[in-house]
């Protein structure tokens, strides 16, 4: 139950951070960091995939509620939640770790964590920005937005992960 409480705290904390601070970072219109994705990234390794998908749905829905978008973030988070197990299965670094633990650079190493984060965040941001535009007219411009935002989001998630207590 203590672990569950930890996750709930991180959820609320990330949401608040996102909404109060990160939603207002508007650098040149190309960088939109969405760090709440971290919640999906740090869910336990052995979480059943259907719970993962439902939690991703819930996360996206809450962000949608507060951002006034309806369905855009939900679509992206479910996509990210679906991609996560696949990305995890590709990484060799976690074979030896405790299955109930949360992915972190403390367990799998910094390099692995950055790649894992960047991939899932990329999936999320690709879905998010393209669905937001809902057309292919601004294809390359949106792609640029995806790239820059992915880098910045990954950077911040990596920093937050470093700040997590070492198990």
């Amino acid at each position: 139950m203590n672990r569950g409480l930890n996750y709930i705290t991180s959820f609320v904390g990330l949401m608040l951070l996102q909404l109060l601070i990160f939603n207002n970072i508007q650098l040149s219109g190309y960088v939109n960091p969405y760090i709440y994705v971290m919640f999906i990234l740090i869910l336990p390794l052995n979480i059943p995939s259907w719970i993962l998908l439902l939690l991703s749905f819930m996360t996206g829905f809450v962000v949608d509620l507060f951002s006034g978008t309806f369905g855009v973030h939900t679509f992206a988070t479910v996509m990210a939640g679906f991609a996560r197990p696949w990305v995890l299965s590709l990484s060799v670094a976690l074979e030896a770790s405790d299955p109930g633990s949360s992915p972190s650079s403390h367990i799998g190493g910094r390099r692995w964590f950055i790649i894992y984060t960047m991939t899932v965040v990329l999936v999320h941001h690709l879905s998010l920005f393209y669905v937001e535009v809902f057309s292919f007219t601004g294809f390359f411009r949106t792609l640029l937005r995806v790239m820059f935002s992915t880098v910045v989001t990954t950077f911040f998630i990596f920093i937050f992960d470093l700040l997590r207590p070492r198990k």
Binding site: L20, Q26, V31, F57, L65, G68, F70, T74, V78, F82
Partner: protein, 275 residues
């Protein structure tokens, strides 16, 4: 039956994924009709609460800039009062005419939430239904037009920003009264596009673009921006690039504009068009 169940169980993750994505897509497509943003009243009350508290804190950093804007606006208004006072006494009797004449009322409001970095940006204001705000009212700052109210709750309202790919406004070139459709292409928050201008119209960079008054949301003559001179040709019409006079990143004090004869105008226009 059993093999069907087995099949479903094997693909349960994929099936759940598809169901959830379908729900998300339904949500997205249902909100593409912008009138349905109104349904977010409950969420807006909560996020409006936080946004207002946050804005109270942040506004202190902008006091100097806001003061400057108010001084400039005061100067303009004083000049206008002077000009009106110097008009020669007319020989006609003054009639209180409520049909022509201002017909618009202005309510000052503060921006408590704004964005410029999305494709569809919205502005949250600290006035709501208890101040008399209704959907369809225009929003403008002292510098230029900012948006149109699309959702109202008791204490807050949300306006679709001009910086929203769904935004359309009938706008005209002040100098020659040719009107076109103003929209935003989603790229730069400083520039919008005025389309449907016939290409024989002579335009000069620096020409002021104002509201044409045809949409009944804004009085005619409200400044929107100036022409940069860039234009894109397309058939019989050109699309002109407009540098917006309002800086959306610094939007703080705005006016909610209510057209007092709007209902009457909407009714008669609807009757004639649908005949």
């Amino acid at each position: 039956m059993r093999s069907l169940l087995n099949f479903l169980l094997r693909f349960k993750t994929l099936i759940l994924f598809l169901i959830l994505e379908a729900v998300a897509l339904v949500m997205i497509s249902s909100s593409h009709n912008y009138h349905q943003y109104v349904t977010f009243g409950a969420a807006r009350t909560v996020s409006g609460f936080f946004a207002e508290r946050l804005e109270n804190g942040r506004s202190y950093f902008r006091l100097k800039q806001v003061n400057q804007q108010l001084v400039t606006e005061n100067q303009i208004l004083r000049r206008q009062i002077e000009e009106m006072r110097l008009l020669p006494q007319s020989e006609f009797v003054t009639v209180t005419d409520t049909v022509k004449g201002s017909g618009y009322s202005y309510l000052s409001a503060t921006v408590i939430n704004n964005s410029v970095n999305k494709q569809k940006n919205f502005i949250t204001l600290d006035r709501g239904s208890r101040h008399g705000v209704t959907t369809g009212m225009g929003v403008a700052s002292a510098e230029g037009i900012a948006g149109v109210i699309v959702g109202v709750s008791r204490n807050y309202s949300v306006a679709m920003s001009l910086l929203n790919t769904d935004f359309r406004l009938s706008a005209s070139i002040a100098r020659n009264d040719y009107f076109g459709s103003l929209a935003w292409d989603g790229n730069n928050y400083r520039f919008a596009q005025l389309s449907e201008i016939p290409h024989h119209v002579a335009v000069t960079p620096g020409d002021t673009i104002v509201s044409s008054g045809y949409s009944a949301i804004f009085p005619e003559g409200l400044v929107i921006g100036t022409l940069t001179g860039d234009q894109k040709k397309g058939g019989d019409f050109v699309t002109l690039k407009v540098e917006l006079s309002a800086d959306f990143k610094k939007l703080t004090n705005v006016y909610i504009i209510s057209n007092l004869s709007r209902d009457e105008r909407d009714t008669i226009e609807a009757e004639v068009v649908h005949e």
